[in-house]
């Protein structure tokens, strides 16, 4: 079967993510949430997307994943055009959403929540013993191994955020999208994530897009910083 030009392009490892003049509207809105965005991210890029609240950072991530359909323009994720072929691309991505908090009665345990990260990339979602080993490994990496059997809803905000990060990491993603990943973490955990875990992922070739409303924050080894305001990219620093 002939590959689409963009797919052939990706096989030459040009871009992990590519947006071409993308505008996304929320249903019923006349003003776009993001407008005319053209961006490219290579394999192994660590990009910070920064800007005030409501500037379109989360919309940008959700458009990249195909959760929101762009009204104009084209989005390619790992060579797949999204949202048309999003399901294939998403299986190779990890996503930490901004609104991760669950109420106290949430009836899934920590290890179950992390294992869910593997469900979509295994046949019928069934996990092997090796899969469970990698669940425990990633819990260990984030220092929450002892929480494995606790109900997710009974954890603090910071602990819940670490569990959701573990869920994204256990997938061994080629593209990792982190939406405000430090919002509930203490200073020590922030430093560990930004100075050790993320650089290691980037070194292994994972493309990391990190959204933060804190305009003063800049992780080490950041290859690109994108400033957004009112749905447009106002500045890109390489």
């Amino acid at each position: 079967m002939a590959l689409k030009p963009e797919t052939r392009g990706y096989l030459r490892s040009e871009h992990a993510i590519r947006l071409i003049k993308v505008s996304t509207y929320y249903s019923g809105e006349t003003k776009p949430a993001i407008r005319d965005i053209t961006l490219e991210f290579k394999e192994g890029d660590l990009a910070l997307i920064s800007g005030p609240n409501g500037s379109g950072k989360t919309t940008l991530l959700e458009t990249i994943l195909g959760l929101l359909k762009p009204k104009t323009g084209k989005v390619f994720l790992l060579g797949y055009e999204v949202p048309k072929m999003a399901a294939l691309a998403r299986k190779q991505c990890g996503y930490l959403p901004q609104d991760f908090m669950k109420p106290a009665g949430e009836p899934f345990s920590v290890k179950e929540v992390v294992a869910m990260g593997l469900s979509s990339i295994r046949p019928l979602g069934k996990l092997s013993l090796e899969d469970w080993d990698s669940v425990y490994e990633v819990l260990e990496l984030l220092g929450i191994r002892d929480l494995a059997n606790r109900p997710f809803g009974r954890l603090s905000g910071g602990q819940q955020q670490k569990v959701m990060l573990a869920r994204a990491l256990v997938r061994k993603p080629r593209v990792l999208l982190l939406d405000e990943p430090f919002s509930a973490l203490d200073r020590e955990s922030r430093a560990y994530l930004s100075e050790e875990i993320i650089p290691e992922l980037v070194r292994r070739g994972t493309t990391v897009l990190l959204v933060s409303h804190d305009t003063t924050f800049r992780p080490p080894n950041c290859s690109k910083t994108i400033y957004m305001r009112d749905g447009i990219v106002v500045r890109v620093e390489e």
Binding site: S27, R90, G105, P107, S109, E112, V113, G125, K126, P151
Partner: protein, 275 residues
């Protein structure tokens, strides 16, 4: 004539219907599809009422209306970008209106007819061997569906958006669960009646949520409590000569009260052990 075979088949049917409804209640609750059962059940009522007007088989039209509703709810909500609960409640109201219009226009004093009361309030007399086979098949299919796809369904029950972001076909699984809900409602309302079927769906689910914080246990407990409610209700109906649907709801409510008391003490003991 001995009542024993009738009681036995009614008990088995009640147990199957109760466990099916219990499972369905938990998945509907977690998916935010609480009103789907209302729309589907009242779709069946409207279908049955139309059958009285047209003087055709009430079961066939009831099933057709209910299944059509279950299959259309998800795509309708997605196509018009309206919350599914709103679509459900609109259809629920429409079906109520249609039911009364069809019944009023039907020949004879239909509201007093036995078959109408069966549809509205349920009856153990509706439990035939064929009906038992249908319920058994449905229970088997539902269990098979949940066991086979649990690892895909669980992430959706936890967080639909995140499951979608991770590449799970959330829409397909949700539609399948709605269709399953439709089938469960259609085939259970012969026992409980269209007005009370959702009680058997939601009350055991609420009870199980009081007793556990483990999703798999909640689903199993809900099925078990639904089964116990239905069996107890069938016996209560026979012993006190009461409508079976009402008896089941009373039993399910008593279990909910007991579960809430047990849940209160369970939560207090957890707080004490933490502090």
């Amino acid at each position: 004539m001995s009542l024993l075979p009738l009681i036995l088949t009614a008990t088995i049917a009640g147990a199957l219907a109760g466990s099916l409804c219990g499972c369905t209640g938990v998945t509907c609750d977690r998916l935010g599809l609480r009103t789907v059962a209302f729309a589907v059940a009242h779709g069946a009522l409207a279908g049955a009422a139309l059958s009285f007007l047209l003087e055709v088989n009430s079961l066939v039209l009831g099933i057709a209306f209910a299944l059509l509703t279950a299959l259309l709810l998800g795509p309708l909500a997605d196509a018009f970008e309206i919350p599914i609960d709103l679509v459900s409640m609109t259809l629920f109201s429409l079906y109520n209106a249609l039911t009364f219009i069809f019944l009023i226009l039907s020949p004879g004093i239909v509201l007093a007819a036995e078959k109408v009361s069966q549809v509205l309030w349920g009856s153990v007399l509706a439990v035939t061997p064929e009906y038992l086979i249908i319920l058994l098949t449905l229970a088997f299919l539902y269990a098979l569906f949940l066991i086979t796809f649990w690892h895909r369904i669980a992430p959706i029950l936890f967080d639909r958006r995140l499951a979608e972001a991770e590449g799970i076909n959330v829409r397909a699984y949700t539609y399948a669960l709605i269709a399953m809900t439709g089938l469960v409602v259609v085939f259970t309302l012969r026992i409980t009646g269209g007005f009370l079927v959702f009680s058997l769906i939601y009350i055991p689910a609420s009870s199980s949520l009081q007793l556990s914080e483990n999703m798999k246990r909640i689903v199993l407990l809900s099925a078990l409590l639904g089964m116990i409610s239905a069996i107890a209700g069938v016996y209560m109906s026979f012993l006190l000569d009461l409508p079976v649907g009402s008896s089941i709801v009373i039993c399910a409510t008593v279990i909910l009260v007991l579960a809430s008391i047990a849940g209160y003490f369970r939560k207090r003991s957890i707080i004490r052990s933490v502090s």
